[in-house]
C-alpha cells in the first residue's frame, strides 16, 4: 500500500485515503470545437502509460478533497515528489533520476 505525501495536509497518508485519477497535466483543449476527431480522441483516451517516471493526478478524497500531482516510478512504485495543481514537477524522466533515490524524507518533505 502506497504512502503518499499530501501537499495540502502536509503529511504522509495511506493510499486508502486517495483516489488515483490518471495521468497528470492533460489539459482540456481550449477550443474543443476546433479539434478534429483525432485530436479529441487523443485528449480523451491516449496516454503515455510510461514505464518509469510518471506524473499522475491523485485526489485526497478522504482527507482534504484536493487534487494534486504525484511523480511516481511505475516500476518500483516509489514516489519521487508530490506537488500542487498548477505547479510543475521537479523530477522528470529526462533527468535520469536513479530509480532507487529517496526523494521524500521522513517527514515526507521533498528533498
Amino acid at each position: 500500500m502506497l504512502h503518499i505525501f499530501c501537499p495540502h495536509c502536509g503529511e504522509l497518508r495511506s493510499e486508502e485515503e486517495f483516489h488515483a485519477s490518471g495521468q497528470a497535466h492533460i489539459a482540456r483543449p481550449l477550443d474543443p470545437n476546433s479539434c478534429t476527431d483525432e485530436e479529441w480522441g487523443t485528449y480523451m483516451f491516449f496516454r503515455d502509460n510510461l514505464r518509469g517516471i510518471h506524473h499522475e493526478l491523485w485526489d485526497h478524497v478522504a482527507g482534504c478533497r484536493q487534487y494534486f500531482n504525484v511523480t511516481r516510478n511505475t516500476e518500483t512504485y516509489e514516489i519521487l515528489e508530490t506537488y500542487k495543481i498548477g505547479e510543475q514537477p521537479k523530477v522528470t524522466a529526462r533527468e535520469n533520476t536513479p530509480a532507487t533515490s529517496a526523494a521524500v524524507n521522513e517527514r515526507g518533505e521533498n528533498v
Binding site: 500500500m1 502506497l2 504512502h3 495511506s14 483516489h19 485519477s21 489539459a27 482540456r28 477550443d31 474543443p32 470545437n33 479539434c35 476527431d37 479529441w40 480522441g41 485528449y43 480523451m44 493526478l57 485526489d59 478524497v61 478533497r65 484536493q66 487534487y67 518500483t76 512504485y77 516509489e78 514516489i79 495543481i85 498548477g86 530509480a99 532507487t100 529517496a102 521522513e106
Partner: protein, 1005 residues
C-alpha cells in the same frame, strides 16, 4: 502407549501439565509447551500423512514453518475445522483433535499407496498434459476422478464461530524475528526510545536460542532471552508480538502481521476474543532478522518417516525433551549440523555414525564429536534410506561431490532416525516480496537479499551470519542503524559473551549422487509435499523447460503450502546441474506473500456480515420499517422499494400505490438524491460548462432539469438544479451518482477552471426530502404549510420557502411522476416530526407511501429516463431524444459537446430511446429483452435494440416499455419483435416514450 519417546528430563515443556489430545481417532498425551508435532513424536507416531501424488507414507521432517508433511486437519466440531495446520507450528492444547489429511482408509494402510506404487511410474511431471485427451468429451469425466485426489485438508461446512480483526500500527522500527539478531536489534532500537514492534512467529521469543547448546555469558542462552524480554517489556514504546508472523512486505514499508491470539487455547476463541488479528504496519524502518532454514540433502527414499532435518532433531531433544528415535545416522556437508549429533549423544542416545561429505573436516564441533567417540565417515553421505513405514537403515557410501558420483559401494547402517543437513538457506522471502532478486553467495552456499529500495536492514542469518556472537553483533548494529535512520540517537550496550569456535566451510552438495543414476535410483524427493523428485526436475529440463519458472510450473516444485521452503534451492541446484549452468545463472522464482498461509477470515477482518459494508439510511428509515417497507439496494442506500399491505406481492402493491398517486396523493422519501450547495459569482458559468443545457437565464426562485455528460458526450448523471439566490444554487443528482458528481465538479474546478469563483458543498445528508405527488398534493400540503400554494403564486418548476409542519422548509414544485408534486425539504433532524404531521393530515386523502418501483412506473409513463437504467454509458442526449436539453449554441464548449459531435455519434442509425407498446396489451416485455426486425431470422440474429424499462401495469390499462432501437426515432409506428427464451415472440409497436399526459396537464395545475 504413553510418550515412549519422551526423554526423562529436559526441554521447555511443563511436565506438570498433561494435555490429552487425539490424532486419527486415537488418544494421546503431551505436555503444556509442546507443539503438536513434538507431542506426536513423543508418542512414537511416525506417519502423519500420505503424499499427494504417490500416496507414500510421510513423517515429520522439520520443527517449524518449513515442514512439508505434517499438514493436519484440526477441529473438534464441524464449524471449527481448520484445514492444513502445520503440526510443527501448532501448540498443543487440551482436547485438541487432529487427523491426517490424506490416506484412505487411513494413513497406515492406504489403498491409494498401492496405486501410487503401480501407477507412480506413469506419473512423471506433466503427465496430465500428455494424456486424458481422448475421446474429446471425456475430460470432464477424467477430471471428476482427478479432483477426488485433490487437496489436503477440507473446509468446514458450517459458518465460522470466530471473529477476526485488524490493528493499524505505525512504528519507527519493525523487527521481524526474535532470534539472537532480532533480539539484539530490538534492544538497540528500544533503548533509543523509538517506537518498536518485535514480531515472531513462534510461541515464545528467542528463536534458535531456545534450543541452542550455546551459552551466553556462561549461562544458558534462554536466560539471556528472558532478561532481554523483561527489559523490552518495560519500555512503553515497544510492542511485543509473539505468535505473530510477518507475512507480507508491501510497498512503502507496509507490512502485514498475522497474529494468532487464541490458537494455543483451543480450536475456537474463548467468548469475546478475536481468534486472529492482522496488524497492518507502516514502519519507518524494517529490520529483517528472519534467520535461515536448514536444507535437507536429496537422496534415495529420503521421504521415509524417520528422515529429519538435523536441526529439527536438536529442537525436539532440547526444546521439547523428545527423542524421535533411538539410533541416529547423520548426513551433513557442514559443521553446524554436528550439534544434532552432540545433542543426541548428550541425551544418552546412540549416534551410529556421521557421514560428512567433506574430505577432512576439522572444525571445533567435528572435533568435539570425535572426542566423544562418534564414528565419522568423511567424503561420505547417505545415498539412500530403507524402510516402509519407518526408517530401518541408511546406506552410507563414499561420494565425489564434484563429479557427482558414488565412489564406493558403501554400507547399510541400522538406525531408526536419519538426520540430514545440506547447509542453510537464508530466509529471504520478505526481503524479496517487492521484487528485489536475491543474490547467490558461494561462500555460504545460499541466496542473500539483493539490493532493494525499501528502508530496511537485514541482520543475522538472513545475511549468512550464522555464528552466534556475530549474529548478536550484526543484530545490535542493525538495530542502532534502523533507529538512527528513523531519527533517534544511537545507543550503545554490551552484548553477552559467546564461546568462540573454529568453523569450517561446507561443501556444495544438494542432490546426493546414487550409483544407479537419477532416473533409476530410488525416488529422491526434492519437494515432498508435491512429490517432486530429482528425476522429475531432470525430466523437465530434458523436455526443454529451462527457465526456473518453467521448471517450477512443470514439476509443481514449491507450489505447496510450504512454498518450497525446503525444496526450492535443491531443485534449482539440480536443474542447474542438469543444464550445466550455475545456480545464480538459474536464478530464483519470485517470492510472493504470504510467507506462511493466513486465514481468510483474518484477511477479511471485521468487514463481514452486518458490517461488511456501510448501509446508508435516510432520516425517515424507522418510519419505513414501521410501515412494512421492502427495501431495494441503491448504491449503499436502502431505499423503500414498495410498501406491501398484508397479502400483497410486489405487483399488487405497486398497482395500488400507482393508482393512489394518480387518483389522490402519494408520499416518497426522496432524501437519497444527491444534493450539492453551490455558491459563488461564477456558479452559473460553471453550471453552463458542466450541464448540456443553458443556465444563464434561470431566475431566482426557479428550477431546471439538467443533463451531465462526460467528455465523450455520453450521459452520466441528471437532476434538477434550483436557483435559490443570484449566486446560489442547489443541485440534485441521482442517488448513486452523488459522490461521483461532486468529485467531478471539484475535478474540473481544481484542475481546469480554478479561476471560476464557485464552491461546492454536499448537503445530501443535511436535507431530508419528502415528495408529495398526486392531484390532492396541493390540498394536503396546504393543511400543513403557510406557503401560498396557489398555482400562479407557486407555479411548476419553481420553489418557495416557508413552514411545513411548523418547520422551515424549502418546497420545490417539480415532478417525476407527471402529477402535481411538491418536494418538501427540511433540515433532517426535523424530518420525522414533519413527516408525521403530513401523514396525519394525509389520512383523509388516502395518502399512500410509495417506493422506488412505483416511482419507476410513474416516471416511465411520462417517458422520464433513469440514468443507469435507460442509459448505459453509450447513450448521448440525442440518443435519448433529449435534444431539447442540449444547448449547442452556448458560448463555452461545455463538457460533452465535442464528444457528441464525433463521427460515430452523428450516425442516424444509432440506438435511440423510444416507447414500446406490446401489440398484445397483456404481454409484458422483460427488461433486458432484445429486439429484432425479423423474428424468423436464424441465430445469430441481427439485434436492433433492447428493452430498458418495462411495466406490466399502466394507468391506461396496458403493459408498456421503454427501449432503445436503432434509428428508432424515425420508426414511429413500426413493429419490432422480441424473441424470448421460451421460443415465443413478443411483437411491439415503436411509439413515443411519453405514454401519459403528453401535454403535462396533470402536473401543471
Amino acid at each position: 502407549m504413553s510418550q515412549t519417546y519422551r526423554l526423562s528430563s529436559g526441554g521447555r515443556v511443563d511436565r506438570s501439565k498433561v494435555l490429552n489430545f487425539t490424532f486419527n481417532g486415537k488418544s494421546y498425551q503431551g505436555y503444556a509447551g509442546d507443539s503438536l508435532a513434538a507431542a506426536l513424536l513423543a508418542n512414537g507416531v511416525d506417519i502423519v500423512g500420505r503424499s499427494f501424488k504417490y500416496s507414500r507414507p510421510r513423517g515429520i521432517i522439520a520443527s517449524g514453518t518449513e515442514e512439508p508433511n505434517a499438514i493436519l486437519q484440526l477441529g473438534a466440531t464441524e464449524a471449527t475445522q481448520i484445514p492444513n495446520v502445520r503440526a510443527t507450528q501448532q501448540p498443543l492444547y487440551s482436547g485438541l483433535v487432529a487427523t491426517s489429511t490424506n490416506g484412505w482408509p487411513n494413513v497406515n494402510t492406504d489403498v491409494m499407496g498401492i496405486l501410487g506404487k503401480v501407477g507412480g511410474s506413469m506419473m512423471p511431471p506433466g503427465f496430465y498434459y500428455k494424456t486424458f485427451m481422448y475421446p474429446k468429451s471425456f475430460w470432464m469425466t477424467y477430471e471428476k476422478y482427478i479432483r477426488k485426489a485433490a487437496g489436503l485438508g477440507r473446509s468446514p461446512l458450517q459458518n465460522d464461530p470466530d471473529s477476526y480483526d485488524y490493528m493499524n500500527q505505525h512504528c519507527d522500527v519493525l523487527i521481524v524475528g526474535s532470534g539472537p539478531a532480532g533480539l539484539a536489534a530490538a534492544l538497540a532500537a528500544g533503548r533509543s526510545g523509538a517506537r518498536v514492534i518485535l514480531a515472531d512467529e513462534q510461541e515464545e521469543f528467542g528463536g534458535s536460542l531456545l534450543d541452542t547448546r550455546e551459552t551466553l555469558d556462561g549461562k544458558p542462552a534462554a536466560d539471556w532471552v528472558a532478561s532481554v524480554i523483561a527489559e523490552l517489556q518495560a519500555m512503553p514504546e515497544v510492542t511485543l508480538l509473539p505468535r505473530a508472523t510477518v507475512n507480507g512486505y508491501h510497498d512503502h514499508n507496509f507490512l502485514t502481521i498475522h497474529e494468532r491470539l487464541t490458537d494455543h487455547l483451543g480450536d475456537h476463541a474463548p467468548l469475546g476474543q478475536v481468534r486472529h488479528r492482522v496488524h497492518r504496519v507502516r514502519a519507518k524502518r524494517v529490520v529483517l532478522a528472519t534467520g535461515a532454514h536448514e536444507r535437507p540433502l536429496v537422496y534415495g527414499n529420503n521421504d521415509v518417516p524417520g528422515n529429519m532435518l538435523a536441526g529439527a532433531i536438536s529442537v525436539y531433544v532440547r526444546r521439547y525433551g523428545v527423542a524421535p528415535g533411538r539410533k541416529l545416522v547423520l548426513s551433513t556437508n557442514n559443521d553446524h549440523a554436528y550439534r544434532a549429533a552432540l545433542d543426541w549423544h548428550d541425551a544418552g542416545l546412540q549416534v551410529v555414525a556421521i557421514a560428512d561429505a567433506r574430505h577432512n573436516p576439522r572444525g571445533s564441533l567435528v572435533e568435539e564429536a570425535r572426542a566423544k567417540g562418534i564414528r565419522i565417515l568423511t567424503s561420505s553421505a547417505i545415498i539412500e534410506s530403507r524402510g516402509t513405514k519407518h526408517v530401518t537403515g541408511a546406506r552410507v557410501a563414499a561420494i565425489d561431490t564434484v563429479a557427482h558420483k558414488v565412489t564406493s559401494p558403501g554400507e547399510w547402517l541400522e538406525c531408526d532416525l536419519i538426520g540430514t543437513s545440506g547447509g542453510y538457506s537464508p530466509i529471504v522471502h520478505l526481503a524479496s516480496h517487492l521484487g528485489g532478486r536475491p543474490v547467490w553467495r558461494d561462500d555460504i552456499l545460499g541466496f542473500v537479499p539483493g539490493d532493494a529500495p525499501q528502508k530496511r536492514v537485514c541482520v543475522g542469518g538472513i545475511n549468512g551470519v550464522y555464528a552466534l556472537g556475530d549474529a548478536l553483533a550484526d543484530g545490535f548494529e542493525g538495530g542502532v542503524r534502523a533507529a538512527t535512520e528513523a531519527g533517534f540517537q544511537p545507543t550503545t550496550g554490551s552484548l553477552p559473551k559467546t564461546v568462540a569456535r573454529k568453523e569450517e566451510a561446507s561443501v556444495a552438495l544438494f542432490q546426493v549422487p546414487h550409483d544407479k543414476g537419477t532416473a533409476r535410483a530410488p525416488k529422491q524427493f526434492v519437494d515432498q509435499q508435491n512429490d517432486v523428485t530429482a528425476a522429475a526436475i531432470e525430466l523437465a529440463t530434458r523436455e526443454g523447460f529451462e527457465s526456473v519458472e518453467h521448471v517450477k510450473r512443470y514439476t509443481a516444485l514449491g507450489f505447496g503450502t510450504d512454498q518450497g521452503k525446503l525444496g526450492n534451492i535443491n531443485g534449482l541446484a539440480i536443474a542447474a546441474r542438469s543444464m550445466g549452468i550455475t545456480i545464480p545463472q538459474m536464478g530464483t522464482t519470485m517470492f510472493r506473500p504470504n510467507y506462511t498461509p493466513v486465514t481468510f477470515g483474518a484477511v477479511a477482518g471485521r468487514h463481514c456480515g452486518h458490517i461488511f459494508e456501510p448501509v446508508r439510511f435516510t432520516a425517515l428509515h424507522s418510519w419505513h420499517l414501521k410501515n412494512n417497507a421492502e427495501f431495494e439496494d441503491v448504491g449503499q442506500w436502502k431505499r423503500p422499494w414498495y410498501f406491501p399491505k398484508p397479502g400483497e406481492d410486489l405487483h399488487t402493491a405497486v398497482e395500488r400505490e400507482c393508482k393512489a398517486v394518480r387518483a389522490s396523493v402519494g408520499l416518497l422519501d426522496a432524501s437519497t438524491l444527491g444534493k450539492i450547495d453551490i455558491q459563488g459569482p461564477d456558479a452559473r458559468e460553471f453550471l453552463n460548462r458542466v450541464y448540456t443545457n443553458a443556465w444563464t437565464k434561470l431566475d431566482v426562485g426557479k428550477a431546471r432539469y439538467g443533463l451531465m455528460c462526460k467528455e465523450d458526450g455520453m450521459v452520466f448523471d441528471d437532476g434538477v438544479t434550483a436557483c435559490v439566490a443570484d449566486n446560489h444554487f442547489i443541485m440534485t443528482t441521482t442517488t448513486g451518482g452523488a459522490a461521483r458528481v461532486l468529485q467531478w465538479l471539484e475535478l474540473y474546478h481544481q484542475t481546469e477552471w480554478p479561476e471560476l469563483k464557485v464552491y461546492f458543498t454536499s448537503v445530501t445528508d443535511h436535507w431530508a426530502t419528502m415528495t408529495l405527488s398526486g392531484p390532492n398534493s396541493r390540498k394536503l400540503l396546504a393543511e400543513v404549510t403557510d406557503i401560498d400554494l396557489d398555482k400562479d403564486a407557486f407555479p411548476f418548476m419553481t420553489w418557495k420557502e416557508g413552514n411545513v409542519g411548523g418547520v422551515p422548509a424549502r418546497v420545490f414544485r417539480i415532478s417525476f411522476t407527471g402529477e402535481l408534486s411538491y418536494e418538501v425539504n427540511v433540515q433532517a433532524n426535523y424530518a420525522m416530526g414533519v413527516l408525521e404531521k403530513i401523514v396525519e393530515a394525509g389520512k383523509k386523502y388516502n395518502l399512500t407511501p410509495y417506493g422506488t418501483e412505483t416511482m419507476h412506473v410513474l416516471r416511465a409513463e411520462k417517458g422520464f429516463i433513469i440514468v443507469g437504467q435507460d442509459t448505459d454509458g453509450s447513450m448521448n442526449p440525442d440518443d435519448l431524444n433529449m435534444s431539447w436539453c442540449v444547448g449547442r449554441n452556448k458560448p463555452f464548449s461545455w463538457i460533452g459537446l465535442r464528444g457528441m459531435n464525433r463521427e460515430d455519434c452523428l450516425r442516424e442509425d444509432r440506438k435511440q430511446l423510444v416507447g414500446l407498446k406490446p401489440v398484445d396489451p397483456k404481454k409484458w416485455l422483460p427488461e433486458g429483452a432484445q429486439l429484432v426486425n425479423d423474428p424468423n431470422q436464424p441465430i445469430p440474429m441481427d439485434m436492433v435494440g433492447h428493452v430498458t424499462s418495462s411495466y406490466a401495469f399502466n394507468s391506461l390499462g396496458y403493459s408498456f416499455a421503454m427501449g432503445v432501437v436503432k434509428g428508432g426515432l424515425k420508426r414511429m409506428g413500426e413493429r419490432v419483435y422480441s424473441p424470448q427464451a421460451d421460443g415465443s415472440v413478443i411483437e411491439a409497436e415503436i411509439v413515443s416514450s411519453v405514454f401519459f399526459d403528453p401535454k403535462g396537464e396533470q402536473q401543471n395545475v
